[in-house]
Symmetry: C2
């Protein structure tokens, strides 16, 4: 088994949904919004925002696009952040 196999095993190495939640929360806080504010902006349940941020639910891509609209950021920027955090987590193991 080579290096590649060690790093990129497919079992359950990095939990993406937790990274998504962490990223979402960071952006929301930075913008001075409450979960409730964001929920209304995106027309979703407030507790749903909570679940995402805590890493209990993984939102679909469609939902992420909605959330990004509420946050007034580009989805591609959001995913870039997620990817960065993902790679960082992989390195740390």
């Amino acid at each position: 088994m080579d290096i590649k196999g060690v790093i990129s095993l497919s079992e359950q190495p990095v939990i993406i949904k937790q990274i998504i939640g962490k990223t979402l929360k960071a952006i929301r806080i930075k913008q001075g919004l409450s979960q409730e504010d964001l929920a209304q902006e995106c027309d979703v349940d407030r507790s749903y925002i909570s679940m995402i941020e805590v890493g209990r639910n993984e939102p679909s891509v469609t939902k992420i696009f909605d959330l990004c609209k509420g946050l007034k950021i580009k989805p591609s920027d959001f995913f870039k952040m997620v990817e960065g955090e993902y790679e960082k987590t992989l390195e740390q193991g």
Copy 2:
């Protein structure tokens, strides 16, 4: 195959899953891979690849990361393509 014809008359403005499928297929074809090749690479069912490409299923972000690994591209690049197509579709209305 054009996205426009696929959009239903429901309130959904743009169907992200259709764009994801279109994007995935374009990349796969460009790399000269069959659905089966990619399925094996990502350890998923072959017909699942088909469903995504046809726009019947919307894969989770986690699955998209898996698929990108199989395609050897960066997820952020994938999402950038999706976003580009999304905005293009919005303009056309």
